[in-house]
Protein backbone atom coordinates (compact mmCIF):
# COMPACT_ATOMS: atom_id res chain seq x y z
CA UNK A 1 0.00 0.00 0.00
CA UNK A 2 1.44 3.32 -0.99
CA UNK A 3 -0.92 4.91 1.49
CA UNK A 4 1.17 3.90 4.49
CA UNK A 5 4.34 5.20 2.84
CA UNK A 6 2.68 8.56 2.28
CA UNK A 7 1.37 8.58 5.83
CA UNK A 8 4.80 7.89 7.23
CA UNK A 9 6.19 10.78 5.19
CA UNK A 10 3.41 13.04 6.46
CA UNK A 11 4.15 12.09 10.07
CA UNK A 12 7.76 13.12 9.59
CA UNK A 13 6.82 16.54 8.24
CA UNK A 14 5.79 17.92 11.60
CA UNK A 15 7.15 17.29 15.05
CA UNK A 16 5.97 19.06 18.19
CA UNK A 17 8.55 21.55 19.47
CA UNK A 18 10.56 20.46 22.45
CA UNK A 19 13.72 21.45 24.26
CA UNK A 20 16.53 19.91 22.21
CA UNK A 21 19.28 18.01 24.09
CA UNK A 22 21.99 20.68 23.64
CA UNK A 23 19.77 23.34 25.18
CA UNK A 24 18.62 21.02 27.94
CA UNK A 25 22.25 20.20 28.79
CA UNK A 26 23.16 23.89 28.59
CA UNK A 27 20.34 24.86 30.95
CA UNK A 28 21.28 22.15 33.46
CA UNK A 29 24.93 23.20 33.23
CA UNK A 30 23.97 26.83 33.90
CA UNK A 31 21.95 25.73 36.90
CA UNK A 32 24.75 23.56 38.28
CA UNK A 33 27.29 26.34 37.65
CA UNK A 34 25.16 28.91 39.46
CA UNK A 35 24.58 26.44 42.29
CA UNK A 36 28.33 25.84 42.71
CA UNK A 37 29.06 29.57 42.56
CA UNK A 38 26.42 30.17 45.21
CA UNK A 39 27.88 27.58 47.56
CA UNK A 40 31.58 28.29 46.92
CA UNK A 41 31.80 32.08 46.63
CA UNK A 42 32.01 34.04 49.85
CA UNK A 43 34.34 35.65 52.37
CA UNK A 44 35.25 32.29 53.90
CA UNK A 45 37.11 30.04 51.49
CA UNK A 46 35.74 26.52 51.57
CA UNK A 47 36.83 24.04 48.89
CA UNK A 48 34.44 22.03 46.80
CA UNK A 49 35.98 18.74 47.91
CA UNK A 50 35.45 19.55 51.57
CA UNK A 51 31.85 20.52 50.88
CA UNK A 52 31.27 17.24 49.05
CA UNK A 53 32.77 15.31 51.97
CA UNK A 54 30.64 17.23 54.45
CA UNK A 55 27.63 16.25 52.37
CA UNK A 56 28.63 12.60 52.60
CA UNK A 57 29.01 13.01 56.33
CA UNK A 58 25.33 13.95 56.49
CA UNK A 59 24.21 10.72 54.90
CA UNK A 60 23.10 8.45 57.73
CA UNK A 61 24.81 5.06 58.28
CA UNK A 62 27.81 6.12 56.20
CA UNK A 63 30.09 6.95 59.16
CA UNK A 64 31.92 9.67 57.30
CA UNK A 65 33.77 12.47 59.13
CA UNK A 66 33.18 16.01 57.93
CA UNK A 67 36.44 17.91 57.27
CA UNK A 68 34.72 21.23 58.03
CA UNK A 69 34.88 23.05 61.33
CA UNK A 70 31.47 23.60 62.99
CA UNK A 71 31.56 27.26 61.85
CA UNK A 72 32.38 26.32 58.25
CA UNK A 73 29.74 23.62 58.31
CA UNK A 74 27.16 26.17 59.42
CA UNK A 75 28.25 28.64 56.72
CA UNK A 76 27.74 26.04 54.00
CA UNK A 77 24.68 24.25 55.32
CA UNK A 78 22.79 26.96 57.19
CA UNK A 79 23.73 30.11 55.27
CA UNK A 80 24.85 29.52 51.69
CA UNK A 81 22.85 26.44 50.74
CA UNK A 82 19.41 27.63 51.87
CA UNK A 83 20.16 30.93 50.20
CA UNK A 84 20.99 29.21 46.92
CA UNK A 85 17.89 27.03 47.22
CA UNK A 86 15.65 30.00 47.91
CA UNK A 87 17.19 32.02 45.07
CA UNK A 88 16.63 29.12 42.69
CA UNK A 89 13.00 28.69 43.77
CA UNK A 90 12.22 32.41 43.53
CA UNK A 91 14.06 32.87 40.22
CA UNK A 92 12.40 29.84 38.63
CA UNK A 93 9.00 30.98 39.82
CA UNK A 94 9.34 34.60 38.65
CA UNK A 95 10.61 33.49 35.22
CA UNK A 96 7.99 30.80 34.61
CA UNK A 97 5.22 33.09 35.90
CA UNK A 98 6.41 35.94 33.66
CA UNK A 99 6.48 33.65 30.61
CA UNK A 100 3.00 32.39 31.45
CA UNK A 101 1.55 35.88 31.88
CA UNK A 102 3.07 36.82 28.53
CA UNK A 103 1.39 33.82 26.92
CA UNK A 104 -1.99 34.14 28.60
CA UNK A 105 -2.28 37.86 27.86
CA UNK A 106 -0.49 37.62 24.50
CA UNK A 107 1.65 40.53 25.54
CA UNK A 108 5.45 40.47 25.64
CA UNK A 109 5.41 43.13 28.39
CA UNK A 110 3.22 41.22 30.79
CA UNK A 111 5.06 40.38 33.98
CA UNK A 112 4.21 40.33 37.67
CA UNK A 113 5.15 44.02 37.94
CA UNK A 114 3.18 45.52 35.10
CA UNK A 115 0.07 43.60 36.09
CA UNK A 116 0.16 44.95 39.62
CA UNK A 117 0.71 41.49 41.10
CA UNK A 118 3.88 42.52 42.87
CA UNK A 119 2.35 45.78 44.12
CA UNK A 120 -0.64 43.87 45.47
CA UNK A 121 1.61 41.33 47.14
CA UNK A 122 3.63 44.23 48.56
CA UNK A 123 0.52 45.81 50.03
CA UNK A 124 -0.63 42.50 51.49
CA UNK A 125 2.77 41.86 53.04
CA UNK A 126 3.06 45.41 54.39
CA UNK A 127 -0.34 45.12 56.05
CA UNK A 128 0.67 41.76 57.50
CA UNK A 129 3.97 43.15 58.85
CA UNK A 130 2.39 46.35 60.19
CA UNK A 131 -0.78 45.02 61.75
CA UNK A 132 -0.22 41.28 61.85
CA UNK A 133 0.18 39.43 65.14
CA UNK A 134 3.56 37.93 64.28
CA UNK A 135 5.18 40.55 62.09
CA UNK A 136 7.26 39.70 59.08
CA UNK A 137 7.97 36.13 60.07
CA UNK A 138 5.39 33.45 60.02
CA UNK A 139 3.22 31.66 57.62
CA UNK A 140 0.81 34.58 57.46
CA UNK A 141 3.08 36.51 55.12
CA UNK A 142 2.73 34.41 51.92
CA UNK A 143 -1.00 34.22 52.46
CA UNK A 144 -1.33 37.99 52.91
CA UNK A 145 0.86 38.54 49.83
CA UNK A 146 -1.31 36.15 47.84
CA UNK A 147 -4.52 37.89 48.89
CA UNK A 148 -3.03 41.25 47.90
CA UNK A 149 -1.78 39.85 44.57
CA UNK A 150 -5.17 38.32 43.80
CA UNK A 151 -6.93 41.60 44.56
CA UNK A 152 -4.51 43.30 42.16
CA UNK A 153 -5.10 40.82 39.33
CA UNK A 154 -8.88 40.96 39.74
CA UNK A 155 -8.68 44.75 39.92
CA UNK A 156 -6.58 44.92 36.74
CA UNK A 157 -8.95 42.55 34.97
CA UNK A 158 -12.09 44.45 36.00
CA UNK A 159 -10.63 47.85 35.15
CA UNK A 160 -9.24 46.49 31.86
CA UNK A 161 -12.59 45.07 30.82
CA UNK A 162 -14.42 48.28 31.66
CA UNK A 163 -11.92 50.17 29.50
CA UNK A 164 -11.98 48.19 26.32
CA UNK A 165 -13.78 44.89 26.45
CA UNK A 166 -12.17 41.56 27.17
CA UNK A 167 -10.36 41.10 23.88
CA UNK A 168 -7.65 43.71 24.03
CA UNK A 169 -4.56 42.89 26.00
CA UNK A 170 -3.05 46.36 25.80
CA UNK A 171 -5.85 47.78 27.96
CA UNK A 172 -5.18 45.07 30.51
CA UNK A 173 -1.58 46.18 30.86
CA UNK A 174 -2.67 49.81 31.18
CA UNK A 175 -5.18 48.77 33.82
CA UNK A 176 -2.44 46.79 35.59
CA UNK A 177 -0.22 49.85 35.70
CA UNK A 178 -3.12 51.90 37.09
CA UNK A 179 -3.94 49.34 39.75
CA UNK A 180 -0.25 48.99 40.64
CA UNK A 181 0.08 52.75 41.13
CA UNK A 182 -2.97 52.83 43.40
CA UNK A 183 -1.87 49.82 45.46
CA UNK A 184 1.66 51.20 45.78
CA UNK A 185 0.21 54.46 47.11
CA UNK A 186 -1.84 52.52 49.66
CA UNK A 187 1.19 50.45 50.56
CA UNK A 188 3.27 53.59 51.15
CA UNK A 189 0.50 55.03 53.31
CA UNK A 190 0.32 51.94 55.51
CA UNK A 191 4.10 51.79 55.67
CA UNK A 192 4.50 55.43 56.78
CA UNK A 193 1.62 55.22 59.22
CA UNK A 194 3.40 52.48 61.16
CA UNK A 195 6.77 53.94 62.02
CA UNK A 196 7.68 51.04 64.33
CA UNK A 197 7.73 48.49 61.49
CA UNK A 198 9.14 50.86 58.88
CA UNK A 199 12.62 49.30 58.82
CA UNK A 200 11.26 45.83 58.48
CA UNK A 201 8.89 46.78 55.65
CA UNK A 202 11.56 48.74 53.85
CA UNK A 203 14.12 45.92 54.01
CA UNK A 204 11.50 43.54 52.69
CA UNK A 205 10.49 45.85 49.84
CA UNK A 206 14.05 46.22 48.58
CA UNK A 207 14.15 42.54 48.08
CA UNK A 208 16.77 40.15 49.24
CA UNK A 209 17.64 36.65 50.15
CA UNK A 210 19.88 37.63 53.06
CA UNK A 211 17.45 36.33 55.67
CA UNK A 212 17.11 33.03 53.87
CA UNK A 213 17.05 29.90 55.97
CA UNK A 214 15.62 26.44 55.53
CA UNK A 215 12.40 27.69 57.11
CA UNK A 216 11.84 30.15 54.26
CA UNK A 217 12.72 27.47 51.73
CA UNK A 218 10.12 25.18 53.27
CA UNK A 219 7.63 28.01 53.29
CA UNK A 220 7.70 28.77 49.56
CA UNK A 221 8.76 25.43 48.07
CA UNK A 222 5.26 23.86 48.05
CA UNK A 223 3.69 26.89 46.39
CA UNK A 224 6.47 27.25 43.83
CA UNK A 225 6.57 23.55 42.96
CA UNK A 226 2.79 23.31 42.62
CA UNK A 227 2.41 26.50 40.56
CA UNK A 228 5.32 25.91 38.24
CA UNK A 229 4.32 22.29 37.67
CA UNK A 230 0.80 23.39 36.74
CA UNK A 231 2.14 26.05 34.39
CA UNK A 232 4.67 23.69 32.79
CA UNK A 233 1.92 21.15 32.12
CA UNK A 234 0.04 23.80 30.15
CA UNK A 235 2.94 24.73 27.86
CA UNK A 236 1.27 23.41 24.69
CA UNK A 237 -1.97 25.15 25.60
CA UNK A 238 -0.11 28.46 25.84
CA UNK A 239 0.97 27.96 22.22
CA UNK A 240 -2.68 27.48 21.21
CA UNK A 241 -3.67 30.66 23.06
CA UNK A 242 -1.23 32.53 20.80
CA UNK A 243 -3.85 32.52 18.02
CA UNK A 244 -6.20 34.63 20.15
CA UNK A 245 -9.29 33.94 22.21
CA UNK A 246 -11.73 33.38 19.36
CA UNK A 247 -9.59 30.97 17.40
CA UNK A 248 -8.52 29.12 20.54
CA UNK A 249 -12.24 28.70 21.36
CA UNK A 250 -12.95 27.48 17.84
CA UNK A 251 -10.20 24.90 18.45
CA UNK A 252 -12.17 23.64 21.44
CA UNK A 253 -10.42 25.32 24.37
CA UNK A 254 -12.33 26.79 27.31
CA UNK A 255 -10.29 29.98 27.19
CA UNK A 256 -11.93 31.68 30.17
CA UNK A 257 -11.32 28.74 32.48
CA UNK A 258 -7.77 28.21 31.22
CA UNK A 259 -6.96 31.87 31.78
CA UNK A 260 -8.31 31.62 35.32
CA UNK A 261 -6.23 28.51 36.07
CA UNK A 262 -3.03 29.87 34.52
CA UNK A 263 -3.26 33.37 35.97
CA UNK A 264 -4.23 31.88 39.34
CA UNK A 265 -1.23 29.54 39.36
CA UNK A 266 1.20 32.25 38.24
CA UNK A 267 -0.18 34.70 40.81
CA UNK A 268 -0.08 32.21 43.68
CA UNK A 269 3.50 31.26 42.90
CA UNK A 270 4.62 34.86 42.42
CA UNK A 271 2.98 35.96 45.66
CA UNK A 272 4.66 33.15 47.59
CA UNK A 273 8.05 33.95 46.06
CA UNK A 274 7.68 37.69 46.63
CA UNK A 275 6.58 37.14 50.23
CA UNK A 276 9.99 35.73 51.19
CA UNK A 277 12.27 37.53 48.77
CA UNK A 278 10.70 40.97 48.54
CA UNK A 279 10.16 42.72 45.25
CA UNK A 280 12.62 41.48 42.62
CA UNK A 281 11.96 42.94 39.20
CA UNK A 282 12.77 42.02 35.61
CA UNK A 283 13.45 38.29 36.06
CA UNK A 284 10.01 37.58 34.59
CA UNK A 285 10.79 39.59 31.48
CA UNK A 286 14.51 39.11 30.92
CA UNK A 287 14.69 35.33 31.14
CA UNK A 288 11.70 34.33 28.96
CA UNK A 289 12.73 36.86 26.32
CA UNK A 290 16.28 35.53 26.11
CA UNK A 291 14.85 32.06 25.53
CA UNK A 292 12.28 33.35 23.03
CA UNK A 293 14.88 35.19 21.00
CA UNK A 294 17.74 32.72 21.25
CA UNK A 295 15.97 29.38 21.12
CA UNK A 296 12.31 29.27 20.06
CA UNK A 297 9.08 31.27 20.33
CA UNK A 298 7.20 28.13 21.40
CA UNK A 299 6.11 27.98 25.03
CA UNK A 300 7.03 24.30 24.96
CA UNK A 301 10.60 25.53 24.93
CA UNK A 302 10.21 28.87 26.75
CA UNK A 303 8.58 27.46 29.88
CA UNK A 304 11.01 24.66 30.78
CA UNK A 305 14.13 26.63 29.83
CA UNK A 306 12.92 29.76 31.64
CA UNK A 307 12.39 27.73 34.79
CA UNK A 308 15.97 26.47 34.78
CA UNK A 309 17.59 29.69 33.58
CA UNK A 310 15.48 31.88 35.89
CA UNK A 311 16.77 29.87 38.82
CA UNK A 312 20.36 30.15 37.57
CA UNK A 313 20.01 33.90 36.87
CA UNK A 314 18.72 34.77 40.32
CA UNK A 315 21.29 32.63 42.14
CA UNK A 316 24.08 34.35 40.19
CA UNK A 317 22.52 37.79 40.74
CA UNK A 318 22.48 37.01 44.45
CA UNK A 319 26.15 35.99 44.42
CA UNK A 320 26.91 39.32 42.78
CA UNK A 321 24.68 41.18 45.24
CA UNK A 322 26.50 39.82 48.27
CA UNK A 323 30.05 40.05 46.90
CA UNK A 324 30.18 43.27 44.82
CA UNK A 325 30.28 45.63 47.82
CA UNK A 326 31.35 43.06 50.45
CA UNK A 327 31.03 43.12 53.38
CA UNK A 328 28.00 45.30 52.56
CA UNK A 329 25.23 43.74 50.52
CA UNK A 330 23.40 45.13 47.50
CA UNK A 331 19.65 44.53 47.37
CA UNK A 332 19.20 41.78 44.76
CA UNK A 333 16.40 43.79 43.11
CA UNK A 334 19.03 46.42 42.29
CA UNK A 335 21.20 43.83 40.56
CA UNK A 336 18.36 42.33 38.50
CA UNK A 337 17.14 45.79 37.50
CA UNK A 338 20.68 46.87 36.63
CA UNK A 339 20.97 43.97 34.19
CA UNK A 340 17.29 43.83 33.32
CA UNK A 341 16.46 47.41 32.41
CA UNK A 342 19.09 47.85 29.66
CA UNK A 343 18.34 44.38 28.40
CA UNK A 344 14.67 45.21 28.28
CA UNK A 345 15.40 48.19 26.07
CA UNK A 346 17.30 45.92 23.69
CA UNK A 347 14.41 43.45 23.64
CA UNK A 348 11.99 46.24 22.81
CA UNK A 349 14.16 47.29 19.89
CA UNK A 350 14.59 43.84 18.42
CA UNK A 351 11.04 42.58 18.92
CA UNK A 352 9.10 45.65 17.87
CA UNK A 353 7.19 43.64 15.31
CA UNK A 354 6.91 40.44 17.26
CA UNK A 355 4.12 40.36 19.82
Amino acid sequence: MTNTVEERAAVELVAPRRVTPPWAIGAVAALVGAFLAGVLVGPVDIGIGDIARSALARVPFLDYETPLSPAEDAIVWELRLPRVALGALVGAMLAVAGASYQGVFRNPLADPYLLGVAAGAGLGATIAISYGPIGADGFLLPLAAFVGATVAVIGAYVVGRSLGGERTTATLILAGVTVAAFLTAMQTFVQQQNADTLDEVYAWLLGGLSTAGWREVGLVAPYVLLSSLLLLLHRRTLDVLAVGDDEARSLGLDVTRLRLVLVGAATLGTAAAVSVSGLIGFVGIVVPHIVRLAVSPSFRVILPLSTALGAAFLVLADVFARTALAPAELPIGVVTAFVGAPFFAVVLRTTRNVP
Binding site: E7, L13, V14, R236, D246, E247, L251, V354
Partner: protein, 256 residues
Protein backbone atom coordinates in the same frame (compact mmCIF):
# COMPACT_ATOMS: atom_id res chain seq x y z
CA UNK B 1 -20.87 14.32 6.14
CA UNK B 2 -22.87 16.63 8.33
CA UNK B 3 -25.88 18.83 7.73
CA UNK B 4 -26.30 22.23 9.31
CA UNK B 5 -29.74 23.61 10.21
CA UNK B 6 -30.46 27.12 11.51
CA UNK B 7 -33.96 27.65 12.89
CA UNK B 8 -35.22 31.11 13.89
CA UNK B 9 -31.73 32.12 15.03
CA UNK B 10 -31.57 35.57 16.59
CA UNK B 11 -28.49 37.41 17.86
CA UNK B 12 -28.69 40.67 19.80
CA UNK B 13 -25.87 43.10 20.36
CA UNK B 14 -26.27 46.38 22.20
CA UNK B 15 -30.07 46.09 22.12
CA UNK B 16 -30.06 45.67 18.32
CA UNK B 17 -30.91 42.49 16.46
CA UNK B 18 -27.95 41.86 14.18
CA UNK B 19 -29.38 38.48 13.21
CA UNK B 20 -33.16 38.34 13.19
CA UNK B 21 -34.95 35.00 13.01
CA UNK B 22 -32.75 33.36 10.38
CA UNK B 23 -33.62 29.84 9.20
CA UNK B 24 -31.80 27.82 6.55
CA UNK B 25 -30.34 24.40 5.98
CA UNK B 26 -27.08 23.24 4.46
CA UNK B 27 -27.25 19.71 3.10
CA UNK B 28 -24.41 17.28 3.91
CA UNK B 29 -21.52 17.77 1.50
CA UNK B 30 -22.95 20.95 0.01
CA UNK B 31 -21.23 24.31 -0.44
CA UNK B 32 -23.46 27.21 0.49
CA UNK B 33 -22.32 30.83 0.16
CA UNK B 34 -23.63 33.62 2.35
CA UNK B 35 -23.80 36.89 0.44
CA UNK B 36 -24.79 40.36 1.51
CA UNK B 37 -23.45 43.87 2.02
CA UNK B 38 -21.11 44.82 4.88
CA UNK B 39 -22.88 44.47 8.22
CA UNK B 40 -25.57 42.16 6.82
CA UNK B 41 -24.81 39.52 9.47
CA UNK B 42 -22.79 37.00 7.42
CA UNK B 43 -19.87 36.85 9.83
CA UNK B 44 -22.21 36.73 12.82
CA UNK B 45 -23.97 33.68 11.37
CA UNK B 46 -20.62 31.91 10.99
CA UNK B 47 -19.62 32.91 14.52
CA UNK B 48 -22.88 31.46 15.87
CA UNK B 49 -22.02 28.13 14.27
CA UNK B 50 -18.42 28.32 15.53
CA UNK B 51 -19.72 28.72 19.08
CA UNK B 52 -18.39 32.27 19.43
CA UNK B 53 -21.72 34.07 19.71
CA UNK B 54 -24.70 33.73 22.04
CA UNK B 55 -27.98 33.27 20.20
CA UNK B 56 -31.57 32.29 20.68
CA UNK B 57 -33.27 29.77 18.45
CA UNK B 58 -31.85 26.46 17.37
CA UNK B 59 -28.74 25.41 15.46
CA UNK B 60 -28.45 21.71 14.70
CA UNK B 61 -25.44 19.84 13.43
CA UNK B 62 -26.18 16.46 11.88
CA UNK B 63 -29.40 16.54 13.89
CA UNK B 64 -27.79 17.40 17.25
CA UNK B 65 -28.30 20.72 19.02
CA UNK B 66 -25.10 22.80 18.91
CA UNK B 67 -25.69 23.89 22.51
CA UNK B 68 -25.60 20.25 23.65
CA UNK B 69 -22.21 19.53 22.10
CA UNK B 70 -19.34 20.49 24.34
CA UNK B 71 -16.86 23.06 23.08
CA UNK B 72 -14.34 20.37 22.25
CA UNK B 73 -16.85 18.11 20.52
CA UNK B 74 -18.11 21.09 18.50
CA UNK B 75 -14.52 21.85 17.46
CA UNK B 76 -14.18 18.28 16.18
CA UNK B 77 -17.24 18.85 14.01
CA UNK B 78 -16.72 22.44 12.85
CA UNK B 79 -13.53 24.15 11.66
CA UNK B 80 -13.41 27.92 11.18
CA UNK B 81 -11.20 29.86 8.78
CA UNK B 82 -11.57 33.38 10.16
CA UNK B 83 -11.60 36.54 8.09
CA UNK B 84 -8.48 37.96 9.71
CA UNK B 85 -6.67 35.07 11.39
CA UNK B 86 -4.26 35.83 14.22
CA UNK B 87 -0.96 34.52 12.89
CA UNK B 88 1.78 34.52 15.57
CA UNK B 89 4.62 35.88 13.41
CA UNK B 90 7.46 33.75 14.76
CA UNK B 91 5.50 30.47 14.75
CA UNK B 92 6.47 27.92 12.11
CA UNK B 93 3.95 26.74 9.52
CA UNK B 94 4.21 23.16 10.78
CA UNK B 95 3.56 24.19 14.40
CA UNK B 96 0.64 26.32 13.29
CA UNK B 97 -1.04 23.50 11.37
CA UNK B 98 -0.45 21.17 14.32
CA UNK B 99 -2.62 23.49 16.44
CA UNK B 100 -5.56 22.17 14.43
CA UNK B 101 -5.27 18.90 16.36
CA UNK B 102 -6.16 20.62 19.64
CA UNK B 103 -9.79 19.41 19.81
CA UNK B 104 -8.61 15.82 19.46
CA UNK B 105 -6.22 16.02 22.42
CA UNK B 106 -6.51 16.43 26.16
CA UNK B 107 -5.54 19.86 27.48
CA UNK B 108 -2.30 18.49 28.92
CA UNK B 109 -1.61 15.88 26.23
CA UNK B 110 1.11 15.72 23.61
CA UNK B 111 0.49 15.07 19.90
CA UNK B 112 0.60 11.40 18.91
CA UNK B 113 1.57 9.88 15.57
CA UNK B 114 -2.04 10.20 14.37
CA UNK B 115 -2.05 13.93 15.09
CA UNK B 116 1.29 14.42 13.35
CA UNK B 117 0.07 12.42 10.36
CA UNK B 118 -3.11 14.51 10.09
CA UNK B 119 -1.15 17.76 10.24
CA UNK B 120 1.47 16.49 7.78
CA UNK B 121 -1.26 15.33 5.44
CA UNK B 122 -2.89 18.77 5.55
CA UNK B 123 0.47 20.38 4.75
CA UNK B 124 0.96 18.10 1.75
CA UNK B 125 -2.56 18.64 0.42
CA UNK B 126 -2.22 22.42 0.58
CA UNK B 127 1.24 22.26 -0.99
CA UNK B 128 2.87 23.67 2.12
CA UNK B 129 5.24 20.77 2.83
CA UNK B 130 8.36 22.66 1.65
CA UNK B 131 7.36 25.63 3.83
CA UNK B 132 6.73 23.74 7.07
CA UNK B 133 9.79 25.20 8.84
CA UNK B 134 9.18 28.78 7.62
CA UNK B 135 7.72 31.34 10.02
CA UNK B 136 4.21 32.67 9.44
CA UNK B 137 5.62 36.20 9.11
CA UNK B 138 7.63 35.13 6.06
CA UNK B 139 4.61 33.84 4.11
CA UNK B 140 2.83 35.68 1.31
CA UNK B 141 -0.89 36.38 1.64
CA UNK B 142 -1.83 33.36 -0.45
CA UNK B 143 0.53 31.05 1.44
CA UNK B 144 -0.80 32.26 4.78
CA UNK B 145 -4.39 31.66 3.69
CA UNK B 146 -3.41 28.13 2.68
CA UNK B 147 -1.76 27.61 6.07
CA UNK B 148 -4.97 28.69 7.83
CA UNK B 149 -7.00 26.29 5.67
CA UNK B 150 -4.45 23.55 6.37
CA UNK B 151 -4.94 24.10 10.11
CA UNK B 152 -8.70 23.83 9.63
CA UNK B 153 -8.20 20.66 7.58
CA UNK B 154 -5.97 19.15 10.28
CA UNK B 155 -8.95 19.59 12.60
CA UNK B 156 -10.61 16.73 10.63
CA UNK B 157 -13.99 18.39 11.05
CA UNK B 158 -16.77 17.53 8.57
CA UNK B 159 -18.02 21.14 8.47
CA UNK B 160 -15.77 23.93 7.18
CA UNK B 161 -16.63 27.59 7.76
CA UNK B 162 -14.90 30.18 5.59
CA UNK B 163 -15.22 33.87 6.44
CA UNK B 164 -14.41 35.82 3.29
CA UNK B 165 -11.54 33.51 2.38
CA UNK B 166 -10.42 35.44 -0.69
CA UNK B 167 -10.69 39.08 0.39
CA UNK B 168 -6.95 39.67 0.78
CA UNK B 169 -5.90 37.72 -2.32
CA UNK B 170 -5.27 38.57 -5.96
CA UNK B 171 -7.47 37.00 -8.61
CA UNK B 172 -5.14 34.07 -9.27
CA UNK B 173 -4.83 33.17 -5.62
CA UNK B 174 -8.58 33.63 -5.15
CA UNK B 175 -9.16 30.92 -7.73
CA UNK B 176 -6.41 28.73 -6.35
CA UNK B 177 -7.80 28.83 -2.80
CA UNK B 178 -11.40 28.22 -3.84
CA UNK B 179 -10.40 25.37 -6.17
CA UNK B 180 -8.43 23.78 -3.33
CA UNK B 181 -11.40 24.06 -0.97
CA UNK B 182 -13.66 22.52 -3.61
CA UNK B 183 -11.23 19.62 -4.15
CA UNK B 184 -11.00 19.00 -0.42
CA UNK B 185 -14.78 19.14 -0.15
CA UNK B 186 -15.26 16.55 -2.90
CA UNK B 187 -12.49 14.28 -1.61
CA UNK B 188 -13.52 14.35 2.07
CA UNK B 189 -17.24 15.08 1.74
CA UNK B 190 -16.92 18.34 3.66
CA UNK B 191 -19.90 20.59 4.18
CA UNK B 192 -18.84 24.15 3.38
CA UNK B 193 -20.50 27.37 4.55
CA UNK B 194 -18.70 30.45 3.25
CA UNK B 195 -19.32 34.16 3.72
CA UNK B 196 -18.33 35.78 0.42
CA UNK B 197 -17.91 39.27 -0.93
CA UNK B 198 -17.24 38.48 -4.56
CA UNK B 199 -20.60 37.72 -6.17
CA UNK B 200 -19.17 36.13 -9.30
CA UNK B 201 -16.85 33.79 -7.40
CA UNK B 202 -19.74 32.85 -5.08
CA UNK B 203 -21.85 32.03 -8.12
CA UNK B 204 -19.05 29.87 -9.58
CA UNK B 205 -18.17 27.86 -6.50
CA UNK B 206 -21.30 27.58 -4.35
CA UNK B 207 -24.02 24.98 -4.88
CA UNK B 208 -26.45 27.49 -3.48
CA UNK B 209 -26.50 31.11 -2.39
CA UNK B 210 -28.17 32.65 0.64
CA UNK B 211 -28.57 36.41 0.39
CA UNK B 212 -28.74 38.19 3.76
CA UNK B 213 -29.38 41.81 4.65
CA UNK B 214 -30.10 43.49 7.98
CA UNK B 215 -29.80 40.14 9.73
CA UNK B 216 -32.54 38.48 7.65
CA UNK B 217 -32.53 36.04 4.75
CA UNK B 218 -33.57 37.93 1.65
CA UNK B 219 -33.33 35.24 -0.99
CA UNK B 220 -32.06 31.71 -1.28
CA UNK B 221 -31.42 29.41 -4.21
CA UNK B 222 -29.31 28.92 -7.33
CA UNK B 223 -26.96 31.73 -8.27
CA UNK B 224 -28.91 32.29 -11.47
CA UNK B 225 -32.14 32.89 -9.56
CA UNK B 226 -30.74 34.87 -6.63
CA UNK B 227 -28.30 37.20 -8.38
CA UNK B 228 -30.52 39.55 -10.40
CA UNK B 229 -29.58 43.05 -11.48
CA UNK B 230 -32.47 44.67 -9.58
CA UNK B 231 -31.73 42.80 -6.37
CA UNK B 232 -28.04 43.72 -6.43
CA UNK B 233 -28.98 47.33 -7.19
CA UNK B 234 -31.35 47.59 -4.23
CA UNK B 235 -29.14 45.60 -1.84
CA UNK B 236 -25.68 46.98 -2.58
CA UNK B 237 -26.65 50.28 -4.23
CA UNK B 238 -24.53 49.11 -7.16
CA UNK B 239 -25.22 49.25 -10.87
CA UNK B 240 -24.27 45.92 -12.39
CA UNK B 241 -24.98 43.75 -15.35
CA UNK B 242 -25.47 40.05 -14.77
CA UNK B 243 -23.96 38.18 -17.68
CA UNK B 244 -25.19 34.65 -18.32
CA UNK B 245 -22.47 32.86 -20.24
CA UNK B 246 -22.03 29.13 -20.52
CA UNK B 247 -21.74 28.54 -16.77
CA UNK B 248 -22.54 30.43 -13.62
CA UNK B 249 -23.74 34.02 -13.98
CA UNK B 250 -21.05 36.72 -13.79
CA UNK B 251 -21.74 40.02 -12.06
CA UNK B 252 -20.07 42.89 -13.90
CA UNK B 253 -20.02 46.40 -12.45
CA UNK B 254 -21.15 49.11 -14.85
CA UNK B 255 -20.38 52.85 -14.62
CA UNK B 256 -23.47 54.90 -14.04
Amino acid sequence: MSSVAFERVTVEAGGRRIVDGVSFTVEPGAWVSLLGPNGAGKTTLLRVLAGLRRFTGSVRLAGRELAELGRREAARQIALVPQTPVAPPAMSVGDYVLLGRTPHMGVLAREGAGDRAAAGDALVRLELAPLSERTLASLSGGELQRAVIARALAQSAPVLLLDEPTTALDIGHQQQVLELVDELRRADGLTVLAAMHDLTLAAQYGDRIILVDGGRVLAEGDAGDVLTEQRIASLYGATVRVVHGDGAPAVVPVRR
